[in-house]
């Protein structure tokens, strides 16, 4: 391994790293919003939109992110809408993540024992009171593992951004390899940067999972 090459490439990787986390986390934020709205709609079985949400979830869960990005990046200009690559990345990741988040939150809501609902209703609570005070806190703790797993999954999915010419980590590595053939150094740097991006999330995630479970269920 050539150390001068590594020091030379570091600033490029740093820029790519910052771009990756910026787009990644914006996309994740969008996916959380979509996921919450989506799971709220399916939970309360709101007519018509409920079916639409289900269709959306199936469509985006069962097609690769790369294909979705191509549709947004190359498809939208065809109908006269020009969107910058960065926005495409955020929206693409948000839509893919939204479908996963919606399912993750739904699993949490459904994991709350049915009899919790009944005992709250028997006390005269309305559906909304039941949801906010009884179901949601428990569902939150139960969907935490899926939530953390989804975040890590989505951060890794950013690696396909290079296909729509976003200069993320993957793009930078491929670019440098193509130009200078320092394959080993480039790949090592790539792995290191992905680990730097994901390990803290993973560790913090497991910590929060435990904490949420402990505060709600005590075990």
């Amino acid at each position: 391994m050539n150390h001068t090459v590594i020091t030379e490439y570091l600033p490029l990787y740093k820029d790519a790293f910052l771009l990756t986390i910026r787009i990644g986390w914006m996309g994740i934020l969008l996916s959380v919003v979509i996921g919450m709205v989506g799971c709220f709609i399916t939970h309360f079985k709101i007519p018509v939109v409920n079916t639409l949400v289900k269709g959306y979830v199936e469509l985006f869960r069962n097609t690769p992110l790369l294909v979705q990005l191509f549709f947004i990046y190359f498809g939208l200009p065809k109908i006269g809408i020009n969107v910058p690559a960065e926005i495409c990345g955020i929206v693409g990741l948000g839509l893919l993540g939204g479908s996963y988040m919606a399912e993750g939150f739904r699993s949490g809501l459904e994991a709350v024992a049915k009899v919790q609902t009944e005992s709250a209703l028997a006390l005269g609570m309305t559906r909304l009171q039941l949801f906010t005070h009884v179901i949601l806190p428990q569902a939150f703790a139960m969907s935490m593992p899926a939530f953390v797993a989804n975040i890590i999954f989505l951060l890794k999915e950013t690696s396909v951004f290079s296909a729509i010419s976003l200069m993320d980590l993957m793009f930078t590595a491929k670019d440098l390899i193509g130009l200078y053939y320092n394959t080993t150094e480039c790949l090592v740097l790539l792995v290191v940067f992905y680990l730097v991006m994901l390990l803290p999330v993973s560790l913090l995630g497991s910590f929060l999972e435990k904490k949420a479970r402990l505060s709600v269920f005590g075990a």
């Binding site: 024992a113 919790q116 028997a122 006390l123 609570m125 005070h133 009884v134 269920f217 075990a219």
Partner: protein, 247 residues
């Protein structure tokens, strides 16, 4: 005594399976009625129909003259007046004991927190659980949890209390502590409808007994004659299964 609950021609079906068929009875204010019967006879379903947790196909449930109907908007209001305690206690795991029993009065009845808390503490003291007020349900034994569940229902000041096999999932030595609470409620004149398999307890607490089988009321009588002079062969047979004298 005034009538508080009237069930007439109640029918409950799950698809083609009839769970309850033409059930008729009334409960007077301050009366304790115990429903017994073999497993799967529809006892629990009957209680659940009374506070609208189950839809009924025919007949009616009247609480003090007002219809209990799962499709009506005022169902929440009706449920405030009918308390229910379940077999599996079902306290809210993320709330302390005090929060568990005060949540509904504060949220549903919009009562003042301080006032509700004072009342809750008094009731918790009465069932011997004052020291547990800041603990979580997971830190309590089954019997303690069930006593909290009773307090939680009482906090809504219900006119009728439905108890659905509340000792069925308890260890034998915990059954007594829960039944003692129920007995003391009966003594202070609470109107209760109880489903249980504890025959001796039923005998001690009930004013009137109902024997349910196959979704129908087979026999209904004052407690004493229900146990001492059962009229139908089926009830005689049923009561026999609880005595061991012939062994």
């Amino acid at each position: 005594m005034d009538e508080i609950l009237r069930v007439s021609h109640l029918q409950k079906k799950y698809d083609d399976f009839t769970v309850l068929d033409d059930v008729n009875f009334t409960v007077k204010k301050g009366e304790v009625v115990v429903i017994v019967g073999p497993s799967g006879c529809g006892k629990s379903t009957l209680l659940r129909c009374l506070n609208g947790l189950e839809e009924i196909q025919e007949g009616s449930v009247l609480l003090d003259g007002a219809v209990v109907n799962p499709n009506k908007k005022d169902l929440c209001k009706t449920r405030e007046r009918i308390g229910m305690v379940f077999q599996s206690y079902d306290l809210f795991p993320h709330k302390t004991i005090l929060q568990n029993v005060t949540l509904a009065p504060i949220l549903v009845k919009k009562r003042k927190k301080e006032e509700v808390c004072q009342e809750a503490l008094a009731l918790l003291k009465r069932v011997g659980l004052l020291s547990k007020k800041d603990q979580y349900p997971r830190q309590l034994s089954g019997g303690q949890k069930q006593r909290v569940a009773i307090v939680r229902a009482l906090m809504m000041q219900p006119e009728v209390l439905l108890l659905d096999e509340i000792t069925a999932s308890l260890d034998p030595e915990m059954v007594r502590e829960v039944l003692d609470v129920v007995l003391s409620l009966a003594k202070e004149g609470r109107t209760m409808l109880i489903v249980t398999h504890e025959m001796q307890f039923a005998r001690a607490v009930a004013d009137r007994m109902i024997f349910l089988e196959g979704g129908k009321i087979v026999e209904e009588d004052e407690t004493k004659s229900f146990f001492e002079h059962p009229k139908t062969d089926r009830l005689k047979q049923f009561l026999q299964t609880f005595t061991y004298e012939d062994l």
